[in-house]
Point group: C2
């Protein structure tokens, strides 16, 4: 099934069930008003939403209305956790190669992951507001999952079973703030502002055969100012699958329902697929010609991130944001 959160003036919005083709929606009132409620009590509430979803797909839901992704908040407008992996090692290799550094051996067995802020997640059409273009504004197109409860020390296989929903994410990054912040040694804080998410979150079964081995075997399309810049395969080159990423997070503590875990920037070794973040393009330019050529995003720039299913239809709806000056 497909779920979204409609803006209603409240902090958590209103849960809606969305039809498979993203054409219609129906309030989930009666079952739950907020997505977190459903995640808190998944086994009891999700079958009720699944029933409504099937009725909606059959065109029989009595109070269905046209689905408008511009009215969506993030599926979880605020979450109790957002932890983002860096599962596409090609991305890590490229960025390091460009600055003359090597990838430590451990990175091939031990996932890289950072704890992100989750108190203010952006909807798919929310403006991306920044005070300065000098911060090095960059998009990062990713796949993300929402978990149920995961026990401490869960195996990757156990963790896979705890995946409730999938989404797309735009993990905004402020590239010019990153070097100084990471040099302090405590990870990202100011250099990773609020992340945006796709209009709908979907259960894994919606991906059909494209959901395999904890990976989404589909193409992630990134379109910058109307120009396609990335058609990256999200499956084959994901070095750690989502079960491994969640298990990494759960090594020393429980992971509770509603936690969001990201894949990191989707990236392919074959450069002809393009890129899912500008930093990677600039790394390639540096490797090829000694210096980056492509500038980071400017005020007014747009970014669209989308993924089509095996049937050619949009799975999650599109993230479509405009970079906007503060004030």
């Amino acid at each position: 099934m497909k779920l979204a959160t409609y803006r209603d003036g409240s902090r958590d919005g209103q849960l809606v069930v969305v039809s498979r083709d993203l054409s219609t929606a129906h309030y989930a009132t009666g079952t739950a008003t907020r997505l977190q409620q459903v995640l808190d009590d998944w086994n009891f509430l999700s079958p009720q939403l699944q029933d409504l979803y099937e009725t909606l797909n059959g065109g029989k839901a009595r109070h269905a209305f046209a689905f408008d992704p511009s009215l969506c908040m993030a599926p979880l407008p605020r979450a109790y956790q957002w932890a983002d992996g860096s599962a596409y090692l090609n991305h890590v290799e490229l960025v390091r190669k460009a600055r003359g550094a090597v990838v430590p051996e451990s990175f091939y067995v031990d996932p890289l992951m950072y704890q992100g802020g989750s108190d203010d997640l952006l909807g798919p059409h929310d403006r991306a507001v920044f005070a300065s273009m000098g911060w090095g504004i960059d998009f990062e197109a990713e796949v993300a999952v929402i978990t149920g409860d995961v026990a401490t020390g869960a195996t990757p296989e156990d963790a896979l079973e705890c995946i409730r929903l999938l989404m797309l994410a735009n993990d905004w990054s402020l590239r010019e703030l990153i070097p100084a912040e990471l040099a302090k040694g405590f990870g990202f804080l100011q250099s990773k502002p609020s992340t945006a998410f796709s209009p709908v979150a979907v259960t894994p079964d919606e991906l059909g055969a494209a959901w395999q081995g904890g990976r989404v075997h589909l193409t992630l399309r990134s379109t910058w100012n109307g120009r396609p810049v990335g058609l990256c395969e999200a499956g084959a080159e994901m070095s750690f699958h989502f079960g491994q990423l969640i298990a990494h997070l759960a090594k020393t503590r429980r992971v509770r329902a509603g936690s969001i875990v990201g894949s990191g920037t989707v990236s392919n070794q074959d450069w002809s697929h393009g890129y899912s973040c500008i930093a990677e393009r600039r790394a390639i330019e540096t490797i090829e010609s000694g210096a980056p050529v492509t500038a980071f995003m400017q005020f007014g720039d747009t970014i669209r991130i989308e993924m089509l299913g095996l049937d050619g239809q949009s799975v999650f709806g599109a993230i479509e944001q405009t970079v906007t000056p503060a004030g």
Copy 2:
């Protein structure tokens, strides 16, 4: 006023108002069932709780009962954000000096802060469960605040006005996992398991004259296995006050109601005050004699963290935890 969250089998528990002397409590039902609700709508709901608090203090609340801190969850059992500063530079200096490193100049003007996990916060009496003593189990006694909504780019003075509540925190750290994790460059994840909080959260006015300049001018007492090991002054040597810490967090994004911001390990230059984490004791031993002597915590060890007010009474109640093996 003083607020706590009673365990009731639910994920968020039940909000209770606690008397100033921590002797009695009263369910906040009628106003709110969960603390996050109050934070979401502070100006409307907090005066109602303040009325109940005054009635309770006057001994006139009709359904008051004896307050039992062992029934408390964390005031926010799960939060949308937990960001922990490192505001006592003496702690940073000691730990670095012990390993022969210097403190970068920037640390004196730019706060060190990490984004922590907040999906599963521990109550004051919850066992601290770990799979291995080899992880280097350490407590960290801190002061923390809960914020209201803070705008992007808020000044430290603006941010101070957004502080709703104060608590104590025990920011559990797995010292032997930290070096390898920080070497990866993305900050803490596995090495900072779930943090515990004091039984009650209090509004700043409860501190009276001890709340000054965004700092708590009181002594933080840490008692390890029944032996007092730290009597550290939390006020004078806090290099960045809470307004500065919150403003640091809000530089590039909004900070939303219910965000928890920590002070970092409370630490004094005068070593006779003792320590608020074992790592600091070990750093002093290393500086004095070339090697650490004090071992990290063992299974069965207890830690008690408390702070007395200017009137000699416990402000927040005590964190009292036992280190427990998993399984």
